[in-house]
């Protein structure tokens, strides 16, 4: 099978500091890949190269047949460590302006386990999160971010430590929502906690900018 994501001699440097060196990798469609490593090893940088948010200094990265940033970004969904919620309504934070049928919005809200909480709010999905977007719990924020990612329905899911700032109980809730997001998708999950990668097809360790399996 043709890999859906691959990289050849991929390197990335920033301000003359080499962060990733000469990476060669190939991930198959539907594969779940975990990326672990110490802080500063280059894990998040690697993920951003896969997302098309950064461009390689040398080498090539291909994601779902796309090698250019604008094309790659359309093929992926991403859940980051920070939920990146904005002072908009819950609905707007999920749809980000897209015209989406109500049924589809309800579908992703249910899948992300937000329905109970949203039903308890006076204005429901039209509740304005405002400037104080962090007054909602970390778990709720991340589930909104997951709902947003579900809505895009991309074949490739990139996860950048989505549970690192959450407590154990909330992590469990968020992981349940993430499981639904990841169903049938190709997943690359960056984390500090290898125990979150149970059942993953491959685990790659990043050390001093290089891959070790």
């Amino acid at each position: 099978m043709e890999p859906i994501i691959f990289g050849e001699n991929l390197s990335f440097s920033y301000k003359e500091k080499e962060i990733l060196k000469d990476l060669n990798f190939a991930f198959k469609k539907g594969e779940r890949v975990g990326i672990v490593g110490e802080s500063g090893s280059g894990k998040s940088t690697f993920l951003r190269l896969l997302a098309g948010l950064l461009s390689p200094t040398e080498g090539v990265v291909s994601v779902a047949g796309e090698t250019k940033a604008e094309g790659i970004i359309k093929k992926i969904s991403m859940v980051m460590q920070e939920a990146m919620l904005m002072p908009l309504t819950i609905k707007e934070n999920i749809t980000l302006g897209k015209d989406v049928p109500k049924e589809r919005i309800n579908e992703v809200i249910k899948a992300a386990k937000l329905d109970g909480w949203i039903d308890s709010l006076e204005e429901g999905i039209d509740t304005y999160l405002g400037d104080r977007a962090n007054e909602i719990s970390g778990g709720q924020a991340q589930r909104i971010a997951i709902a947003r990612a579900m809505l895009k329905d991309a074949d490739i899911i990139l996860l950048d430590e989505p549970t690192s700032s959450l407590d154990k109980e909330t992590t469990t809730e968020v992981l349940e929502a993430l499981d639904r997001l990841m169903e049938g998708k190709t997943v690359v999950h960056v984390t500090h906690h290898p125990d979150l990668l149970k059942g993953y097809d491959r685990i790659i360790t990043v050390k001093e900018g290089r891959f070790y399996e």
């Binding site: 997302a51 948010l53 970004i73």
Partner: protein, 308 residues
């Protein structure tokens, strides 16, 4: 006002120094103007001007310039210190609050807009106070110099001030409305910049572009309205401020012909009243400036938000 009082109290010594220098600078200018009047009388009487007289003029000139320098420096230093206190107050309150007083977007908008506008306003306010004080002290001097003449001219002046104030009544409301829209637009911009990765990944560029441009359009509409009214207000006050000058000439001529004063005294009145007229002419724009400044200043004060 509360914020301004706090800033002034925190930098009292510099504010007092600035005002002392300002006061002395104005008083020395008065001596200069009186002597100019004496020169004008000598010219009209076809008398020679003594060299000794010119040396005294030169001494007053040097003193005047020195105090102009000191007043400028002290005034700017006082306002810069107040601006620094304001910035530190803002930062201190943000860090001190147990829960978040304001969100990141609003903080950045305040740091960029309100603090900057307040700092610049503080700098400009000293200039406004200087000109205002010049005008008021000039009026006091003129009342002592020739009470009858001053009162004849003063009546129309007061009428002009009242009329000008009425004309500019709607302006502060429009200023606030335009500023609010601008802040809203800035908040949107900051939100987008802060969450740029999410915007890119989820293709929300078009959505935010529409929001930003709609807010900008609304700001444009309000700003145009505000500027138009400002143009009318300032122009009308410019016309009205010429009235006292014409009255000065008219009444001055009559009093000179009747022997109640000399041309030299009229010259003193022209210079001093000019100072007062400048105060009147600029009053609407100063009032707008001060109100705008106080609005900016109050918006930097997040103390009330922390209390809730």
């Amino acid at each position: 006002m509360k914020v301004l009082k706090r800033l002034t109290a925190a930098n009292m010594i510099w504010v007092i120094t600035a005002y002392v220098c300002l006061f002395l600078s104005i008083i020395i200018q008065f001596f200069w103007t009186i002597r100019i009047g004496m020169i004008a009388d000598a010219i009209v009487s076809r008398e020679k001007i003594e060299i000794k007289f010119m040396f005294i003029m030169f001494a007053i000139l040097l003193a005047s310039c020195l105090f102009i320098y000191l007043k400028s420096l002290a005034g700017k230093y006082a306002t810069e210190r107040m601006a620094h206190t304001l910035r530190m107050d803002f930062a201190g309150k943000l860090l001190k609050s147990e829960r978040e007083a304001i969100g990141g977007y609003e903080a950045m908008s305040k740091a960029q807009n309100e603090l900057t506008a307040s700092s610049e306003g503080l700098s400009g306010i000293f200039d406004v106070i200087e000109q205002f004080l010049s005008g008021i002290l000039a009026l006091i001097f003129l009342l002592f110099a020739n009470l009858r003449f001053t009162l004849i001219v003063l009546g129309p002046l007061i009428a002009v001030v009242l009329l000008i104030n009425r004309i500019g009544k709607n302006l502060p409301g429009l200023v606030n409305a335009a500023m609010d829209k601008r802040i809203s637009n800035n908040k949107t911009a900051y939100m987008i910049i802060s969450n740029f990765e999410a915007v890119k990944v989820f293709g929300a560029e078009e959505f935010f572009e529409e929001k930003f441009k709609k807010e900008l359009e609304e700001w444009g509409r309000l700003e145009t309205k505000k500027e138009r009214i400002s143009a009318v207000t300032n122009s009308v006050s410019g016309i009205l401020s010429q009235l006292p000058l014409l009255i000065l000439f008219g009444v001055g001529a009559l009093l000179i012909w009747r022997g109640y004063m000399t041309i030299g005294t009229l010259m003193i009145f022209l210079n001093m009243t000019g100072s007062f007229i400048r105060t009147i002419t600029n009053l609407p724009s100063w009032v707008v400036r001060i109100k705008q400044f106080l609005v900016h200043l109050s918006r930097t004060d997040i103390a009330s938000e922390i209390q809730h």
